[in-house]
């Protein structure tokens, strides 16, 4: 029992010291927002203005499904007022464990601080089966709706609602910020639609299934993925088959997301004569794409330059 006491003293001292240090320096009126991805952080900053501090778990270069579970995220999540996420199980590989470790009841699933931006988004590509023979499928449907700026508008609305619910006294300012941002975004949407009009019907492939909503919005043809199935690397047979059909259908573009190795996309581009382009899947994914609008500008410009003029 003496040994137990010997152990207890330093532990008790550590705990007491920790309590004394526990004064929260960030405990002001600001709403502490944590987002999983950088596009959500951009929107939260645009709408929240000076009333929010925003931190994104991802920096922009990560795979949307593979943000590392760093323990350094835990204290941030522990103090968060709002946890804003993409939803449709996009973050299933890292967010549930982080939320549990955060010990913050306000941002758990179903609580007001848990802001699922998939609310109100009609999903596409809902799998007929969630069996793993189909790979790491998303049971609710394709979660990469942020690459469609019109659906992104819906997410901005959800974020605004959450901020108003958290701080109704700032409702007018949040709405004003939202409207200002949406006006800017709408003008860009018109611009992007104009620029991509000549590309209507142009086909492309990508490594992972990020681009369904983008292609649908701008009238392009999402030809297929280099991955065999979601989360499953391509087999030789799949690559051969893809090359063969791309050649037959004259698919002009191969998209590589920075999170995936270049080797196979480059090989496919070389074999088919398609242009290989590297595109971000969230702001910060490549240099000079720090905001959502900058990212979409970059994506649109890259497609316009890559698809041969008719």
């Amino acid at each position: 029992m003496k040994t137990l006491m010997k152990w207890t003293a330093p532990i008790a001292f550590s705990l007491a010291a920790a309590f004394l240090c526990a004064a929260d320096p960030a405990a002001k009126d600001e709403i502490r927002v944590v987002t999983t991805l950088t596009d959500l952080a951009d929107f939260a900053r645009a709408v929240g203005g000076n009333y929010v501090t925003v931190r994104s778990l991802a920096t922009g270069i990560e795979d949307t499904h593979g943000v590392p579970m760093k323990p350094s995220f835990v204290p941030t999540l522990n103090r968060a007022d709002l946890m804003i996420l993409i939803g449709f199980d996009c973050e299933h590989a890292f967010l549930p464990a982080l939320l549990e470790a955060s010990k913050n009841p306000n941002i758990q699933y179903g609580r007001p601080g848990y802001v699922d931006c998939a609310k109100g988004i009609t999903p596409a590509e809902i799998p007929k089966s969630t069996d793993h023979s189909e790979g790491d499928v998303h049971p609710y449907g394709n979660p990469h709706y942020m690459l469609d700026p019109v659906r992104a508008r819906q997410a901005i609305g959800t974020i605004t609602e959450a901020l108003i619910a958290k701080a109704p006294e700032y409702e007018a300012d949040f709405k004003k910020n939202r409207d200002a941002y949406l006006a800017k975004l709408d003008s860009k949407i018109t611009e992007w639609q104009e620029k991509l009009k000549p590309l209507k019907g142009a086909a492309f492939v990508s490594y992972h299934g990020h681009w369904f909503y983008f292609a649908e919005r701008f009238g392009m043809v999402y030809y297929g993925t280099i991955e065999l199935k979601p989360g499953i690397d391509p087999t030789t047979r799949h690559i051969e088959s893809l090359i063969s059909s791309m050649k037959a259908d004259h698919v002009p573009v191969v998209v590589r997301e920075p999170q995936f190795p270049e080797k196979v996309p480059a090989l496919i581009a070389e074999q088919t004569g398609a242009k290989l382009i590297k595109l971000p899947i969230m702001p910060g994914g490549v240099p000079h794409t720090e905001t959502y609008i900058e990212m979409m500008d970059y994506i649109v410009k890259s497609f316009v330059e890559a698809v041969p003029k008719k």
């Binding site: 526990a22 270069i61 323990p71 835990v74 522990n78 299933h92 464990a97 010990k103 790979g135």
Partner: protein, 460 residues
């Protein structure tokens, strides 16, 4: 007369009722989905575009649209009766088979598996988890593993535990049977290890997994830096701790106590360092064994553990590139354990049951310390491929001169997230005093998962 005339859509009307209703049922979700999709698209178009004259929509129309939008959202939400990862309860099954060849028989290695060729269904693990109520979640891990002697599947409850989800002050309480938070690899299951077998030091000092029937409290220290503190008490710690002797009245000091403090540092965006210090004590372990001598030594004396203590320092240094961590990474993990136990030596062996189990007055109490450690490096060079080396070193808890060392190399091929095959070579060196001989072994471990699986915090 008009009633007798065929209508344009009469083909569908001629279908038998059961076929029609079946078709309707099959198509219902698709139709609903398509209606929702079209409505949403139309609404989005209306919201984003001014009307034909370029005038903004009047507030009444806007309000109606928003109301309609809300109702559609409610329909969509209602369809999501459960989250897919959380069928109630979430159920998953893990299978693990180990094929091996060892150069010596078990009598020469001390293994509980036969030497030579062996195929062992090490585990068939059923995982069940769900929220109990708004304040607690519960989970159970039922394992059926093959008995080494009979080959029969022995069913056991590895874990069955209740975990709080809504305690204030950053606290989490866990109760029941669970793997205590002690060290780094003692509280994860065999199939989650980065190599085939649990390190020797964990096997010898803890008894494999840190299983306990107990109570554990975890506190996330409310500061900007990650610090986690855990303390617990339980009826034993580890797989080899037997139940209390029937009929005994147990004192508080006969329970097992453990604690752990861990922290983490971001060395750079892609480089991480995590470390922890754990302590364990069973102040009166002889109460558990009812003073029965555990080991008869070569000179006929007996040695009985009377107090058990363990300190564990662990660290993990890892390269987890933000951009492509699914395809490359490096982990260096090390755990150093110091065992400090008290023993009762009985020179004439009178305490042994065969000799009547009575004290003859010549018994003496001694303290013995022993060191154990393991260190491994795993490198991942592809989404499917990783490999590494493991070094093991352990001194027997009751005799630090009895040293066992092992050197392993392993390669893992993960065909997917749920299916992996691992090849491992291990060379084990025993101290001649132990009576065991050096041996070599080749293992092929095949582990797979079906159903629900979690990316848990402990496995990060």
């Amino acid at each position: 007369m008009a009633q007798d005339e065929p209508k344009e859509n009469s083909k569908t009307e001629k279908l038998p009722d059961d076929v029609r209703s079946q078709l309707t049922e099959d198509l219902k979700p698709l139709i609903e989905q398509e209606v929702e999709r079209r409505l949403k698209t139309a609404l989005e178009a209306l919201r984003t575009q001014p009307d034909a004259q370029g005038k903004p929509q009047d507030p009444a129309t806007q309000a109606q649209l928003e109301e309609l939008n809300r109702k559609i959202d409610q329909v969509i939400e209602a369809q999501k009766k459960v989250r897919p990862g959380e069928f109630n309860p979430a159920i998953g099954l893990v299978g693990e088979t180990v094929f091996s060849y060892r150069s010596r028989g078990s009598s020469e290695t001390g293994s509980d598996r036969p030497g030579g060729f062996d195929i062992w269904q090490r585990s068939v693990e059923l995982n069940i988890a769900a929220a109990v109520d708004p304040f607690f979640r519960g989970y159970a891990v039922i394992n059926a593993s093959a008995d080494p002697v009979t080959g029969e599947a022995a069913l056991g409850v590895e874990e069955a535990s209740l975990v709080s989800t809504a305690l204030p002050w950053n606290l989490t309480l866990q109760a029941g049977r669970f793997f205590a938070e002690f060290g780094r690899l003692a509280n994860i299951h065999d199939h989650e290890l980065p190599f085939v077998n649990r390190p020797l030091a964990l096997d010898q000092y803890i008894g494999g997994e840190s299983r306990t029937d107990g109570l554990q409290l975890n506190w996330l220290v409310p500061v900007d830096h990650y610090i986690s503190v855990t303390a617990g008490l339980g009826d034993g710690l580890g797989g080899d701790t037997g139940p209390n002797a029937v009929g005994d009245k147990r004192g508080f000091s006969e329970l097992n106590f453990w604690t752990r403090i861990s922290t983490y540092f971001d060395l750079a965006d892609d480089w991480q360092f995590e470390t922890g210090l754990s302590g364990f004590i069973n102040p009166r372990s002889n109460g558990r064994a009812d003073l029965s001598p555990d080991t008869v030594q070569a000179d006929g004396s007996t040695i009985t553990e009377t107090r058990r203590g363990l300190v564990d320092l662990d660290f993990k240094f890892s390269y987890v590139p933000l951009q492509n961590n699914q395809f490359t990474g490096l982990t260096w993990g090390t755990e150093i354990l110091y065992s400090h136990n008290h023993y009762l030596i009985d020179p004439d062996g009178s305490l042994a049951p065969v000799n009547g189990g009575a004290s003859s007055g010549d018994e003496l109490s001694i303290r013995r310390g022993a060191l154990g450690l393991y260190s491994y490096i795993t490198y991942k060079w592809d989404r499917q491929w990783s490999g590494g080396v493991l070094v093991d070193h352990v001194e027997a808890a009751d005799d630090r001169h009895d040293i066992t060392s092992a050197y392993s190399a392993y390669v893992t091929w993960a065909t997917s997230h749920w299916n992996q095959i691992r090849l491992q070579f291990t060379h084990t060196e025993h101290n001649p005093l132990s009576g065991f001989k050096d041996d070599k072994a080749v293992y092929v471990q095949w582990a797979w998962i079906i159903g629900a699986h979690s990316h848990g915090w402990a496995q990060r």
